[in-house]
């Protein structure tokens, strides 16, 4: 039993690691950006940070605490520019190339021609297990990439907006 558990742990770790995107190439945008926000929360820090949340204080906190319990990491990069087109398609192509791999599936795509906003949500699954989620929100003066690694309840994903450095991405209103 213990042997099987060890094998599962060893096998599970790299599986979730696949869901972690390589976002280093985006760092070159920092020099042109007016504001850069970088959030890196790995599993250990996430578990420590989740202790700040109380299961009894409010229903929202309880849900978020449950949500982050099994997560392996939360990574956010956000660039804000003073002028339009502060970044080019070639800047985000390496990222999109990773997300267009067969392991990832695009589950939501929102394009607003009025606000020139383009939001795409990708999900990596293995069977019924969600291994990771990526959100790419692109606007002429703003680029946000969110990568949540680990098993996650897709219905509760929107609750992570505004938590752990994840900005409000209009992925659906928070349930009351």
């Amino acid at each position: 039993m213990i042997f099987a558990l060890l094998i599962w742990i060893v096998a599970a770790r790299p599986a979730f690691a696949q869901a972690q995107l390589k976002m280093d190439n985006l760092d070159r945008l920092a020099s042109a950006a007016a504001e850069v926000v970088n959030v890196t929360i790995d599993e250990q820090l996430l578990q420590l940070a989740s202790k700040f949340l109380s299961a009894t204080r409010s229903a929202d906190e309880r849900d978020i605490k449950e949500l982050v319990r099994d997560l392996k990491g939360v990574y956010v990069k956000r660039f804000e520019f003073d002028r339009d087109n502060g970044y080019t398609q070639s800047d985000i192509d390496p990222l999109l190339k990773q997300l267009h791999a067969p392991a990832w599936a695009r589950i939501v795509g929102v394009t607003s021609t009025r606000e020139l906003k383009n939001i795409e949500v990708f999900m990596m699954t293995e069977g019924s297990l969600i291994k990771g989620i990526a959100v790419v929100a692109a606007q002429p003066r703003e680029l946000t990439v969110v990568n949540v690694v680990g098993p996650i309840d897709i219905d509760k994903l929107s609750r992570l907006q505004g938590q752990f450095g994840i900005p409000q991405l209009d992925l659906g209103s928070k349930p009351k």
Partner: protein, 184 residues
């Protein structure tokens, strides 16, 4: 005969004063030693900002050390260690946009993990939040710069106790919630 004239009472008072002095001395030595022997990243950040920007330290007149000692003894809100330095008048005239980041990145040891990094050089704003697990505690190193002022803070927090403090805010048995409500 007054207590001052009683030699037994006088000797007892002297003993109490001597014992109190010894305890205070010990606490002060331990406090100073903790600050000196503490994580070098905090000291290196402060030192580099002082030297590279010729920044002056905001005088605390001992309040900083007393605050650190009070935190070490009282552990309010699960914070068992806290130290901070306020730096002002950073000489930013020759500053390039990436200088501040370069200084912080080179001064902070790799065992500190960058948790949140926010930079807006055009607005003269930088915030670095580093973290490292320390047993059941979490240690946070925060460096914030707003134009020519900077603050460097290091705290060690027990997340469980902080969470309990949020639910039931009290220090040394004194509830803070009712005070806060009265103040509102």
């Amino acid at each position: 005969m007054t207590p001052q004239e009683d030699p037994v009472v006088g000797r007892r008072a002297l003993k109490i004063i001597a014992a109190l002095s010894a305890v205070l001395g010990f606490v002060a030595i331990v406090g100073v030693a903790t600050v000196i022997a503490g994580d070098s990243s905090y000291g290196r950040v402060v030192s580099r900002l002082r030297s590279e920007y010729r920044a002056t330290e905001q005088p605390m007149y001992g309040a900083g050390l007393l605050g650190e000692l009070a935190v070490a003894v009282l552990r309010p809100a699960g914070v068992s260690k806290a130290k901070f330095t306020l730096l002002k008048d950073l000489n930013v005239r020759q500053d390039r946009s990436d200088d501040f980041s370069r200084i912080i990145l080179s001064a902070v040891e790799s065992k500190w993990r960058p948790l949140v990094v926010r930079s807006a050089p055009a607005r003269g704003e930088w915030t670095y939040v580093y973290a490292q697990p320390d047993g059941k505690h979490i240690r946070l190193l925060v460096v914030n710069r707003d134009h020519a002022d900077a603050v460097v803070v290091e705290v060690r927090v027990d997340p469980d106790r902080l969470s309990a403090f949020v639910d039931n805010p009290q220090i040394l048995g004194v509830r803070l919630e009712s005070t806060a409500r009265t103040a509102r």
